[in-house]
Symmetry: C2
Subunit: 355 residues, 2 copies
């Protein structure tokens, strides 16, 4: 499936080699300040935060086996500054803030979604309890805004306003996502594909856009450059979510670590399903009947019907459209070459992933 998705999305392979090195370079740049911020937390919320970030095991000892996140947001922040012609170090306070916000949102979302595993480890609420996990998320949230607000410099006020607006968008996106669960599969209250896209832009795109925009802003970029990077990040988030949805149904369980047709078994309202349901025709109607019957064993048949009704192709097209739109944003903005190309490589890397 990875191959076919990549082929359909027409992703160039050449620059992908550099992305792990790029992620490593930006991690090295941001880590000292991020670690210092976490180190300043109350010992208890600090321990839970280090666990959430994949730095520590549940008993507080360093965990070399834990898988950290890729650090996409900190990388986008650093590249945002560099693309604006500034030193990547200018972006570090923004990079720290967006990584903290990301950790906060995963932590609280896992509570709300009842998810027990993340990156092959117990989620924070599962490992420490719901109450402590709420508290650890609050600590990360407060630290994110505080660390940015205490950054000296002429752009701090605008940066804080952007971060706060993004936080509100994140919460709105999560609210929509939770509400979608209780909406019907069909009829006037059914979730439309464009409503799903708007949710994904808030829940995933807003923070990616904020990351790149904060980097540029702290690097002294003009408002249009900041806006272009914000928009590129938003398209990136929507494309990213579309790929996530494809993997959630047709991804290779050996690679994703998730069951085959997992999102269909969990009856998640994802883009492929919503696109299939919004289409006309017998496959769409049979899919609706199948989903309303809530039979978990019907997941393979549902996957076939989603594909037959055009949901898979529509989602590939959705990813493609937003990938192109992100590229256009990047190419039309006055960005410095190596950093702009690195952002495109990162984009390709993320959409090419198999897990």
């Amino acid at each position: 499936m990875t191959t076919s998705l990549t082929a359909t999305l027409d992703v160039p392979q050449a620059p992908l080699r550099d992305v792990p090195a790029l992620l490593g370079r930006c991690r090295a740049l941001v880590r000292p300040r991020l670690a210092a911020a976490i180190g300043g937390l109350h010992p208890w919320t600090g321990e839970m935060s280090a666990y959430a970030l994949g730095w520590r095991d549940v008993d507080g000892t360093p965990d070399p086996d834990a898988s950290e996140g890729k650090g996409v947001r900190q990388t986008l922040a650093v590249l945002g500054a560099e693309a604006a012609g500034a030193d990547g170090r200018a972006a570090v306070p923004g990079a720290v803030a967006v990584e903290l916000v990301h950790a906060f949102s995963l932590l609280h979302d896992d509570i709300m979604d009842g998810d027990v595993l993340r990156r092959q480890r117990e989620t924070v609420w599962k490992a420490y309890g719901t109450g402590p996990a709420v508290l650890a998320g609050d600590a990360l949230f407060a630290l994110a805004v505080q660390s940015l607000a205490e950054t000296p410099g002429p752009h701090t006020g605008e940066a804080v306003r952007r971060l706060c607006a993004t936080l509100t968008e994140l919460v709105e996106g999560q609210a929509e996502d939770l509400l979608f669960e209780s909406r019907p599969w069909t009829g006037p209250d059914a979730v439309l594909p464009e409503q799903y896209r708007a949710m994904a832009e808030r829940k995933t795109g807003a923070l990616l856009g904020c990351a790149a925009a904060l980097g540029a802003l702290l690097g002294g970029a003009p408002a249009e450059t900041v806006a272009a990077l914000d928009l590129a990040g938003r398209h990136m988030g929507v494309a990213f979510q579309a790929v996530d949805d494809l993997l959630g149904i047709w991804g290779d369980p050996a690679v994703t670590g998730k069951p085959v047709h997992g999102d269909l078994r969990r009856r998640k309202k994802t883009y492929p399903v919503l696109a299939a349901l919004s289409a006309e025709g017998p496959a769409s109607r049979e899919l609706a009947a199948l989903l309303e019957a809530a039979d978990e064993d019907a997941a393979p048949r549902a996957a076939a019907l989603v594909e037959e009704a055009g949901g898979r192709a529509a989602t590939v097209a959705e990813a493609h459209h937003h990938l192109d739109a992100a590229r256009t944003c990047l190419r039309e903005a006055p960005l410095t070459e190596p950093a702009a190309l690195s952002i495109e490589s990162l984009l390709d890397f993320l959409l090419h992933r198999a897990s």
Copy 2:
């Protein structure tokens, strides 16, 4: 008990008449902007927030019977500006922010503490579910910082830094409070009265201090005035907590709405108990043995022992000390008369309360 506490604290009665009118005046000043902020939330988190604030019933209809909070924090913010010689309206963005932070912290604390009732109504997590309540708290948190950060004016940056530092303190205070629960009653790991006071300053005092300080800051007050009001609010919070602890053991159930000796039945580590346990003597030792036996029926005997070991007197002295310290802060700062007196009246009102 109310009478004896008041008598012991030597609280003047005369200015108390004005406090309800004062609270009402400040509420009227702040409400439009607070309501507009809540009105801008996502409809779902907005509904839960309005419920949390006591404005709406659980089905979203206006609830005239719901009891709102007193609005102490918004009042302190307005008085902070007025005491600095500014128009109280200058404080409104700060007043909105501290009321939102207060609502956020009650909402999340109720989840962590498992409390099912607040102001005679179901808590938000009880009424809407834990996940939605986490989300509603996050929405209030984000809105608090965002609304302040978007306030035009020369003092916004400093105001946001103060609010963020306070948020971190609140979370630290809640962390300590939760951790106290699992610490022993006696021995080297027992909670000391001064550790409890430090927790109360963070959990209760920091936001009261922030409220008054933000008002002064937004009103253009010099740094020393802002600092004096912050410190006065912190002392007020510690005194407030001491009174709360007295009421939690010896308050009149008909007035507090809580069971007699409630805090002892729930085995809460409050100042009177910790002070009694840290004293020498047979009553202290008998109390320790009784608490370690975890017998709920022993609450009346425990209350008598707390008193015999000096815990009640120590708590009255604690309240008195911080009340005096708050008054000293107010009297030594260059504050305008009517507002400074109003803050003192508010202080007396809060410490004189019976519920």
